[in-house]
């Protein structure tokens, strides 16, 4: 086949060399597929954001309706991370104090300390409005106030946050702990601060598992649950020093 004066073994050696070079170049440039990985958008720490209404006026803690007919949602810490703001009460509409508690994660038995409710009656709490099971959000995931019962694996229950997608149920009176599966992780909680002189509320950080879908959400280590930094990545930052609370009608009321 070949012309010239090159013997076959040298030709085959060249063929092997060229093949190896070709495979190396291919392997090296496959690294270029990293171009498909979008750059992360993230913020460096949990911001301290004032809760305001749509007109920019601060939300007054004592004026949040107890067991309200509407669900109050606000984004925190990024704009694609909605949370429910709840003023919890009993069936007669009196505030119920939410005490600090230890929340256990059924997935791996790691636990963390939920700081309890804030406000004049210590009944105001806020939880991620994204279900930890498969990411359904409000209105699928919603609060069932006293007297409105969700059909759960434990039978009809009220005073729970229940997800109608797959039936995960959480207890907002106990730090968002798991009541029934299929979820194996509690709802992440927003740590709120109440300024007693102005009656204003601030979101200051998150506690518990990383919000569903953000980096590390499926592996809540004992370090991560105290400071779920994964919440800070994977969405646009909220501009300014406040976050807007919007009201939506609650399908479970």
């Amino acid at each position: 086949m070949s012309g010239g004066n090159v013997n076959e073994s040298r030709r085959n050696f060249l063929k092997a060399m060229v093949t190896i070079a070709g495979l190396s170049v291919l392997a090296g440039m496959l690294r270029g597929l990293e171009v498909l990985v979008p750059p992360e958008v993230s913020i460096s720490g949990f911001p301290r954001l004032l809760l305001v209404d749509e007109n920019g006026n601060p939300i007054k803690a004592s004026s949040i309706p107890i067991n309200g007919k509407q669900i109050a949602l606000f984004p925190y810490p990024l704009d694609n991370e909605p949370n429910m703001l709840l003023a919890l009460g009993d069936s007669s509409g009196s505030p119920v104090e939410v005490p600090p508690t230890t929340v256990i994660i059924p997935q791996n038995n790691v636990s963390y300390d939920f700081p309890g409710g804030v406000g004049p009656s210590k009944n105001i709490v806020a939880y991620s409005a994204i279900c930890q099971h498969l990411g359904c959000t409000f209105p699928e995931l919603t609060f069932y106030p006293p007297g409105v019962k969700a059909i759960t694996a434990n039978g009809p229950m009220d005073k729970v946050i229940h997800c109608s997608c797959h039936g995960s149920t959480y207890d907002p009176y106990r730090g968002g702990a798991v009541v029934t599966g299929p979820t194996v992780r509690p709802l992440p909680a927003v740590v709120l601060e109440w300024d007693s002189s102005t009656d204003e509320l601030y979101a200051v950080k998150m506690i518990g598992p990383v919000i569903y879908g953000h980096p590390g959400y499926s592996s809540p280590t004992s370090q991560l649950v105290k400071n779920p930094t994964g919440d800070l990545t994977g969405g646009s930052p909220i501009s300014g020093t406040s976050t807007i609370v919007k009201y939506y009608s609650n399908p479970a009321s």
Binding site: S2, G3, G4, K15, A21, G22, S24, A27, V35
Partner: protein, 475 residues
């Protein structure tokens, strides 16, 4: 992996039916760059399609300039992606020019290849169109100028109703959404037309050496020619080398230009990155340049005949003449000196393009007086026509003596031993360049990764060519 003859690669060929690929094989002498200029343009087109589709994942018409700059600064290998998409266009335009000129001077537009020529001219126009739109997508100060000039030209031509079609309803979002849409539409049409062009090229076959057809059309390579050898694996290996060589060049040049110490000295016409934002203070220091391949048209727009006539003269008349070339010159003569007036016309036109481009680069946007127009436009006509007809007189005297069979490629020949060593060397160089690239950061060291990848591709293409030469070229 069995590297011995008839092992692994024969299996691959069998599974993929590569021996049945219906492409035409060629005689040995056609494994030479002038027969593969179209392949270089097509390789660049493939690079543009690949990188362009990836850029779609990041480009945001709602935020054109910032999203473009974010590709350079934040996306892994993003600086290589963007700058090689720009230089892929440049290389493609250059290759299309050279391919067209080569085809013209060999008389390859003559029968039976007239339709191939017409498709080729349309591909040329579409390439420039896609490049104009693509260049405007960045949203930098030059792109804003280009779009405004485009609006002005359309208005001057009485086509202002086409402005919203091309550039949208006036909002920035509609402008860039449309530019992106048109860029993709033109690119898709380009690929379709290329497919037709390629199909005709395969059906008409490679144009043989002019002596074989005694300088007369139709110049055809007989399918039963004993020198034709199967497409697989010879053409495949050569073609792969051409593709990778082109891609290597497309990666290497902008990456070298993007190295920080070099970048600061690169004139804006050749910069691998977009210019400043139109709203930034630096924008005022940038002269209103079009992309380099439209410099000639930019100078035409300075001519003293009004914008409409300038555009007709600079763009539409040349395009129509190019399209009509097979109809204008219907003789069988293939040698350029046997069809002197059209040869002289082409040389004149080429001279004008170069002349106007250089002038435009030196004096962008300076209006041209009538006497300057005469001084630049008339001499090339006189010199080209006079020169070609003068050389033709000599040509008639020597024509008979040259038509004898001179042995092609009888000059310098690389020995197979030397080619073998070159093959070893370039394979090793390719491997080294790739290894080095692994130590570089995809975001911070983008230009250096590009240099390494470009070097690796070019070296590997060289080793493939060396292997091809040792294994398949007989003498």
């Amino acid at each position: 992996m069995d590297m011995s003859n008839g092992g692994f690669w024969d299996k691959v060929a069998e599974i993929l039916h590569l021996k049945d690929v219906p492409f035409m094989g060629v005689p040995d002498y056609m494994f030479s760059i002038e027969y593969w200029l179209g392949a270089i343009a097509a390789s660049a087109l493939a690079w543009q399609a690949i990188t362009g589709l990836i850029l779609l994942l990041y480009y945001q018409p709602s935020d054109a300039y910032d999203s473009t700059m974010a590709i350079i600064h934040n996306v892994p290998f993003g600086s290589i992606l963007l700058s090689s998409h720009l230089y892929g266009a440049y290389i493609m335009i250059l290759a299309v020019y050279i391919h067209g000129l080569e085809v013209f001077f060999r008389g390859a537009y003559k029968r039976p290849r007239g339709a191939q020529w017409v498709l080729g001219v349309l591909l040329f126009a579409m390439t420039l169109g896609a490049a104009f739109v693509g260049y405007s997508l960045t949203g930098d100060v030059l792109s804003a100028d280009a779009v405004n000039v485009g609006r002005g030209i359309l208005t001057a031509l009485g086509l202002s109703s086409a402005i919203p079609i091309l550039f949208g309803n006036g909002t920035q979002l509609d402008l860039f959404t449309r530019l992106l849409g048109w860029h993709i539409i033109i690119a898709a049409a380009l690929i379709l037309f290329f497919a037709l062009h390629f199909y005709l090229a395969e059906q008409n076959g490679f144009m043989p050496d002019l002596k074989e057809s005694n300088y007369r059309a139709p110049a055809l390579l007989s399918r039963s020619d004993s020198r034709l050898k199967p497409w697989w694996p010879r053409n495949f290996i050569f073609m792969l080398a051409i593709v990778l060589l082109t891609w290597g060049i497309i990666l290497l040049i902008p990456s070298v230009l993007a190295i920080p110490q070099v970048l600061s000295r690169v004139p804006i016409l050749l910069s691998p990155y977009p210019g400043p934002s139109p709203t930034s203070p630096e924008a005022s220091s940038v002269p209103a340049y079009p992309p380099w391949f439209f410099l000639f048209m930019y100078k035409m727009a300075d001519m003293p005949f009004g914008l409409a006539m300038d555009t007709v003269m600079g763009m539409f008349i040349p395009l129509i003449i190019l399209l009509l070339v097979p109809a204008l010159d219907r003789s069988d003569a293939l040698h350029p000196l046997d069809r002197p007036w059209i040869t002289a016309l082409f040389i004149t036109g080429l001279t004008w393009v170069i002349e106007l481009s250089v002038w435009s680069a030196i004096q962008p946007g300076v209006p041209v007086k009538m006497q300057w127009f005469a001084i630049t436009i008339i001499p090339p006509v006189v010199i080209s026509f006079g020169g070609i007809y003068a050389i033709r007189r000599v040509w008639f005297k020597v024509k008979g003596e040259l038509s004898g069979s001179r042995n092609r490629g009888a000059g310098f020949r690389l020995s197979k031993g030397a080619a073998l060593s070159l093959g070893y060397l370039t394979s090793i160089l390719a491997i080294i360049a790739i290894v080095v690239s692994f130590f570089l950061n995809p975001i911070m060291d983008g230009p250096y990764v590009g240099v390494m990848w470009g070097t690796a591709l070019i070296s590997f293409a060289a080793s493939l060519l060396a292997y091809f030469y040792v294994e398949y070229i007989q003498w």
